[in-house]
Symmetry: C3
Subunit: 117 residues, 3 copies
Amino acid sequence: MSIQRFHSGPRMSQMVVHNDTVYLAGQVADNAGATADVTEQTAQVLRQIDALLAEAGTDKSKLLSATIFLPNIASFGAMNKAWEAWVDAKNTPARATVEARLAGPEYLVEIQVVAAK
Amino acid sequence: MSIQRFHSGPRMSQMVVHNDTVYLAGQVADNAGATADVTEQTAQVLRQIDALLAEAGTDKSKLLSATIFLPNIASFGAMNKAWEAWVDAKNTPARATVEARLAGPEYLVEIQVVAAK
Amino acid sequence: MSIQRFHSGPRMSQMVVHNDTVYLAGQVADNAGATADVTEQTAQVLRQIDALLAEAGTDKSKLLSATIFLPNIASFGAMNKAWEAWVDAKNTPARATVEARLAGPEYLVEIQVVAAK
């Protein structure tokens, strides 16, 4: 049994790998302050997910599940625009999307994924 | 390491199997437009989960965890009525239930499960 | 493939172990009625998680992921105070925290974790 942690701080790790399962922290946009556009924030979150998965030696074609939190469910379409431009259309994960307020009002989307490696 | 995807579209898959762990997408009732009854919608969702698990060669006795989202937490009891009529009482999963608005106002419950196979 | 269930009732189990992955039910404070303090309820929830993990033969140093639900996201700091006093700072899990109303108004925090054993 092996556990590897990435970008670990005293509160949380951004990624934890257990055997061949990869758990990511909920990702919010690093540049949230600079954009109030859900599509752009989603694209930024997905770039962060790409970078984390790459550190674990895997990629978006091995996504298993995704949970997406939107503070306003009315932005479902705007989030999906960035999601569908990014996701590997032949290898899409199981997914759930619900409305939930996030840790700060500047965040318009949070995405938490589990992947294989 | 093996990954199998079921009912895959360009946005998401309804089920992804990784080795012997089965991740389902959040399920909402296919017949949501036809009923505004939480108990009936929950029963429908659970039938959909049965059908998906069967495709993966497993069943509800191997549920590991369930996350239940209700747009109105006051319907907790009505949801549980269908849940308890369905779940294998000797093999119940770990579960969390919280309030969250869903992708469309017609949906009164969404259930996301992880199972073994 | 092995599945072990702990504190199982006809609705849910408090913990399910699948091979070397441990899924806990969302935990709310057993003493919720006695305290309206988020920090204290969080500390209580984390003690419950310690006790469950111990029954599975594991502990908080092997946490993989945590999902935290707060009925009022404004209590994010008060929750983190108890979280950071508890979590193994060298072995922190991936984490997501969002706002969601819980099954009863007395509950000020719910935490659902996945661990390795």
